[in-house]
């Protein structure tokens, strides 16, 4: 078939979610992916006797079958929930921050987490209970706005969600200042900042509060067979619903007709496929800078794209260790190792190569003891670069430089945890911004889409979603979308754009 109702560009989380939504509605759909497997960052790879998770540290919004979180509900609607086996994580994290001398473990669960804050401040529990009550109102307000399809009744908002409105414009740092919590409590609540990668002066409080409330109160999980399991579950669902996925099939052009409406795509090998609707699961920088002919790109699309800021560029060290986690002395799954919890300072020092100011490190065996052979363990350490630091690296220096940064990160982790890892490294792989650029084509190797900026945060993007699209028949979903980065957000964004595409088709049909 050379014509589909919808073509999805990219089989990343957003693209896979979008394709399932389209197919569930009975439309035909083709997914074109330039790599040979689905998932984008949601994948895994094998080195020797180890299988490494490529990107996921923990997945929030899953909950349990009895008390499902929002993403589990979404997966149920799409028909993939039964295909995935989840492992619930026990603790939230182990924070080690040098400047403040923090070294503690925080549990999941509202009550347990609130109580654990008493070790940081005598009134810790009280502050956390108050904070979570505020978060609950934020979540309820967001749910209400969603139910009203973005047109909430102002009177209801004023009456039921006044705090949501009052903190709506503020950054994380502004809001915490207004809340007046002690430094130890704020520092602890700020720990997850690197999951969104914007500093506290820019990051939207609503967005951050909503995310950490989900983590702390509902916990987090990981798929049993790495995130490749998620991607293959989606691929299987797409086939079940009669959809097609073509691999090694890079889209190089989005075609438009005389009216400027999308009419198809062109693959790298020259083959053209017709479709009135395209959902691009890639960056608007690529869509407006490469995939569309420049005449098809309105001025305001360029303005919007130039207005946005590329977010954190990824760097990860994957280690297969010939000793068990227990033998190494690592008890926890999730470590945050920081110079300081002042994320404005951290953000600044992560602009350059040479600092290892912040790392999020996972010892996978402490969540899934069977993830590697007995007597071994898997560790992966991730950091971000908050500027385009890797752009001017010479190819002859590249391999040495990435090993130097990786060696620093390993040493830093060993020092923070008092362990010896380097003597037992059996397998190593290092992903730099170049690696992320290679596999997923993202500008500068960003893994976080567009950064949450003061005026480009979650709520503004959601409210302006229709205003931010320009080409009839084309929608852009995934990590660059209105829900911003992260696994749950990118699936949701793709599904949302597919829902909007179905409405577009309905309007056209009328």
């Amino acid at each position: 078939m050379d014509k589909y109702d919808v073509i999805v560009i990219g089989a990343g989380n957003g693209g896979l979610g979008a394709a399932c939504r389209i197919l569930n509605a009975g439309k035909t759909c083709l997914v074109c992916e330039k790599h040979n497997i689905p998932g984008g960052f949601a994948t895994s790879f094998v080195r020797g006797r180890f299988e490494f998770e490529a990107s996921l540290h923990e997945f929030n919004g899953i909950g349990t079958p009895e008390e499902p979180g929002s993403t589990r509900i979404l997966f149920e609607q799409l028909g993939v929930a039964d295909k995935i086996e989840w492992i619930q994580l026990k603790d939230a994290y182990h924070l080690i921050s040098e400047a403040e001398g923090y070294d503690y473990v925080m549990p999941f669960g509202w009550e347990a987490f609130a109580k654990a804050n008493n070790q940081l401040h005598p009134d810790g529990e009280k502050y956390i209970n108050e904070f979570f009550a505020l978060c609950q109102q934020i979540r309820e307000a967001m749910a209400y706005i969603g139910e009203t399809k973005g047109r909430p009744d102002p009177a209801v908002m004023m009456e039921k969600y006044p705090d949501y409105l009052a903190c709506g414009s503020y950054s994380v740092n502004e809001a915490f200042e207004a809340l007046g919590y002690p430094k130890e409590i704020v520092d602890n609540l700020n720990t997850y900042w690197c999951y969104l990668g914007a500093d506290g002066n820019n990051l939207s409080f609503l967005h951050y509060a909503n995310m950490i409330y989900s983590y702390f109160s509902k916990g987090a999980a990981i798929p049993k067979y790495r995130s490749h399991e998620l991607s293959l579950a989606f691929e299987e669902r797409i086939h079940e619903l009669g959809g097609d996925i073509w691999f090694n099939s890079e889209v190089v052009k989005i075609l438009t007709d005389e009216e400027g409406h999308v009419c198809g795509i062109r693959l790298k090998d020259g083959r053209e496929i017709a479709a009135r609707h395209v959902i691009a699961n890639c960056s608007p920088h690529v869509v407006y800078g490469k995939l569309l002919d420049s005449e098809a790109v309105p001025e305001r699309a360029l303005k919007l794209t130039n207005f946005r800021k590329l977010a954190g560029r990824g760097f990860t060290v994957f280690l297969g260790i010939s000793k068990s986690a227990e033998e190494l002395g690592l008890k926890d799954h999730n470590y945050f190792v920081y110079d300081t919890t002042d994320n404005v300072k951290q953000y600044e020092s992560m602009k350059k190569i040479g600092n290892t100011a912040a790392q999020a490190t996972v010892c996978l065996n402490n969540a899934d003891p069977d993830c590697s052979p007995e007597g071994t363990c898997i560790i992966y350490m991730t950091t971000l670069f908050t500027d385009d630091a890797w752009s001017s690296v010479d190819k002859e220096d590249y391999f040495k430089l990435k090993n130097k940064v990786a060696a620093d990160m390993i040493e830093r982790f060993e020092k923070a945890t008092g362990t010896n890892i380097h003597d037992y490294i059996e397998e190593i792989a290092i992903a730099t911004p170049e690696t992320y650029a290679r596999y997923c084509g993202h500008p500068q190797g960003t893994v976080y889409g567009y950064e949450s900026q003061y005026y480009d945060g979650l709520m503004s993007r959601i409210q302006m979603v229709e205003e931010d699209r320009f080409v009839p028949g084309l929608r852009i979903g995934g990590g660059y979308g209105e829900r911003l980065l992260g696994f749950p957000s990118s699936y949701k964004s793709g599904v949302n754009e597919a829902g909007r595409t179905l409405r577009d088709m309905e309007k056209e049909g009328r």
Partner: protein, 384 residues
């Protein structure tokens, strides 16, 4: 509680309601400058990983009783990427009715590749090496996959002294490493222990490679000669070269791996410090050769062919002339990752490097998979 930041009544909410208007204004004020087409990071990624490069045979030289060196040049407008000494390239071309691909380790150093020189060693073994040795000539065009594999020195993982053990054309990755050490693109000590039957079976000139940081020991099994060791690569011999700061790299036939691993074990050498390059998965022995019907989907095209239970699926595809993606041919790299629609198959445990979810959802690497019934599979398109 009531969230309050500003002391001006209504100010907090007013600021929130103005967010979109401010965003709109900021977008209005941003220039409509053309978007950057390619970033430095993305350019380097492409330089290092061009995917496929069209190459031409420039020179073919015999270098031992059964080995030839073949020097490739990039076709017009193409370039070889920088790589890690020890990696391989997969060469493909159409030969008669078949479309063949085979991996070959690179002799050249990373810097030589940048100068447009990519030399490989071919040992007369199978259908493609015979084609390269007997039929291909200067000017023959090939498709070269980008240098791949993780058989290279890693400064974090490996000890500073590598004892490299090789036989046959297995010396190839170490020739590249020795050149890299000399040119300064790699920084480690390498002791090469090469096993050959006689001096006529040595496909390189040891004298040319000895130098600072590089020692070469040749062990002849069927000849005694001055300057050469006699016998096999035994524990006694290995003991002379292995110190407390050694990792062992091996490249050669499987029989050599088995023997040397046994010798290393008797020395109490840490087996997690041994790396070996893997050999291609070949035919398997079966009690009865059976032919099956294989249906292959590539995008929306469907092919039907015959596959036998003693040959890998990739061999069946090649024989039928279907340009199938393949890179390592030993089950490891996952480049040929394919979906099983239905059918039974066999993968030897030692060649099964699939991801755990691939097993759950029934995906295979055709290069290491044998059919056990009629099969239907969906493979990615070869798209250089």
């Amino acid at each position: 509680m009531a969230f309050k930041k500003s002391n001006i009544p209504g100010e907090d909410i007013r600021l929130a309601t103005e967010m979109t208007a401010k965003r709109r204004k900021l977008i209005d004020e941003t220039p409509a400058a053309p978007l950057v087409y390619e970033y430095g990071v993305n350019r380097l990624a492409k330089d290092l990983h061009p995917g496929f490069v069209k190459a031409v045979i420039a020179e073919k030289t015999p270098c031992s009783a059964d080995c030839w060196r073949i020097r490739l040049e990039p076709a017009a407008g193409e370039a070889f990427p920088y790589f890690r000494a020890g990696q391989f390239v997969t060469l493909s071309c159409r030969a008669g009715e078949s479309f063949l691909s085979r991996p070959y380790s690179v002799i050249s150093s990373p810097r030589e590749a940048l100068e447009g020189k990519l030399e490989i060693m071919v040992q007369r073994k199978g259908i493609f090496s015979t084609f390269l040795i007997d039929e291909a000539a200067a000017g023959t065009e090939l498709i070269a996959g980008e240098p791949s594999g993780d058989f290279y020195f890693d400064s974090i993982r490996d000890r500073k002294h590598i004892v490299a053990i090789a036989g046959g054309s297995g010396v190839t990755p170490f020739l590249s490493m020795m050149k890299a050490i000399r040119e300064g693109s790699e920084d480690f000590r390498l002791t090469l222990i090469y096993g050959a039957r006689t001096r006529d079976h040595i496909p390189f000139d040891p004298e040319k490679f000895r130098g600072e940081g590089v020692e070469v020991i040749v062990v002849l099994s069927e000849e005694e000669a001055e300057g050469y060791r006699h016998g096999f690569i035994t524990a006694g011999l290995l003991k002379e070269y292995i110190d407390c700061d050694t990792s062992v790299f091996m490249c050669g036939p499987d029989a050599m791996y088995r023997f040397v691993r046994g010798e290393l074990e008797s020395l109490g050498f840490d087996e997690t410090k041994i790396r070996q390059e893997r050999n291609s998965v070949g035919d398997r022995e079966v009690s009865e050769i059976k032919a099956f019907r294989l249906i292959v989907h590539i995008r929306d095209a469907v092919y039907e062919l015959e596959a036998t239970n003693n040959e890998t699926l990739i061999t069946a595809l090649e024989r039928a002339g279907i340009p199938a993606v393949v890179r390592c041919r030993n089950g490891v790299c996952g480049f040929c990752h394919s979906r099983v629609v239905n059918g039974e198959y066999f993968i030897a445990k030692e060649n099964d490097f699939r991801r755990s979810a691939d097993k759950k959802f029934n995906y295979i690497h055709p290069c290491s998979t044998y059919p056990e019934s009629d099969m239907e599979i969906d493979i990615p398109i070869m798209n250089p």
